[in-house]
């Protein structure tokens, strides 16, 4: 699914650490803002990785470099991100 951020508003959003994101909330990273992510609880995570959170890509922009929906990412909980939400419910059509 492609994401297209609306013009200026996103850059004005406050920064929050990954640790403050709740499951199901959408966010984008600062260093790679072309992917929309949500947190997930990854059953395969190592117990020693408590300082990390797992996020999954749910949408990518056209300029995203190699990311795909469903891709698992490992983020430091202290990493700052921008929270976003869907301004409009996405619409899908059946593939032919």
């Amino acid at each position: 699914m492609h994401a297209q951020t609306t013009a200026a508003p996103v850059v004005s959003t406050s920064l929050v650490p990954v640790a403050s994101i709740r499951p199901g909330q959408h966010f984008i990273r600062l260093d790679s803002p072309s992917e929309v992510l949500v947190l997930m609880s990854y059953a395969g995570a190592d117990a020693a990785d408590a300082q990390f959170a797992w996020a999954v890509v749910i949408a990518v922009n056209h300029d995203s470099e190699g990311y795909v929906p469903g891709q698992l990412l490992k983020l430091k909980r202290t990493t700052h991100v921008r929270r976003v939400h869907e301004a409009k419910a996405p619409v899908f059509a059946l593939e032919h």
């Binding site: 699914m1 492609h2 994401a3 297209q4 951020t5 609306t6 508003p9 996103v10 004005s12 959003t13 406050s14 929050v16 499951p23 199901g24 909330q25 959408h26 984008i28 929309v36 949500v38 947190l39 997930m40 609880s41 990854y42 059953a43 395969g44 996020a55 999954v56 749910i58 949408a59 190699g66 990311y67 795909v68 929906p69 469903g70 891709q71 698992l72 990412l73 921008r82 929270r83 976003v84 939400h85 869907e86 301004a87 409009k88 419910a89 996405p90 619409v91 899908f92 059509a93 059946l94 593939e95």
Partner: protein, 186 residues
């Protein structure tokens, strides 16, 4: 009104590739657009299974919810990022988005409150302008707010205290109307 429709070309989950979007046809996630969970290695994006496992219809494949048609609270609602496993033999239909996803920022609670305060201050200033204009010679600007009681001195008001200043002036005006002897002293 109940709609009936027929999916003419169901596919199997094991046919899905990395990054493709699909809707399971049951029994789970029937209201959700999903993608297969994958991870990144030095060789790129990979599924968590070998090619042989993936071709086995009995293999359980990790699936991520990307979007859901049901509303929160509905039995079939699952939030984005929810993960479950489905059999490779699960029937699915592939879908694609009709338009790009549009995003809006989510502001901090404190930021929203701050914005509301600023808006209320602006509304109070507008109200102040309407109330006192015609009675006093008042100059109110966006930055430094100055209350000039011609021909007397000017009183600078801290812009951060605009709402309180407006409230005080309006109250004072009402008090003064009740006490005509004070109006003559202004």
């Amino acid at each position: 009104m109940k709609a009936t429709f027929r999916i003419t070309d169901p596919r199997l989950l094991l046919e899905a590739s990395v990054g493709e979007l699909f809707v399971p046809l049951g029994p789970e996630l029937v209201e959700c657009v999903c993608a297969m969970r994958s991870h990144t290695t030095s060789e790129g994006v990979q599924l968590d299974m070998t090619p042989d496992e993936r071709r086995n219809p009995d293999t359980l494949m990790p699936v991520i919810v990307v979007a859901c048609r049901a509303e929160p609270g509905d039995p079939e609602y699952y939030p984005a990022g929810f993960e479950t496993v489905l059999s490779g033999a699960s029937p699915i239909v592939f879908v694609h988005p009709l338009e790009p996803l549009q995003l809006a920022p989510v502001e901090e609670r404190g930021k929203v409150a701050e914005d509301l305060t600023a808006r209320h201050n602006a509304e109070a200033l507008d109200h102040l302008r309407q109330v006192v204009r015609g009675h006093w010679d008042v100059e109110i600007t966006a930055g430094q707010t100055t209350l000039g009681l011609a021909p007397g001195p000017s009183y600078p008001i801290d812009p951060t205290h605009r709402a309180r200043a407006a409230f005080n002036v309006i109250t004072g005006h009402a008090d003064n109307l009740a006490r005509p002897e004070l109006i003559s002293k202004l």
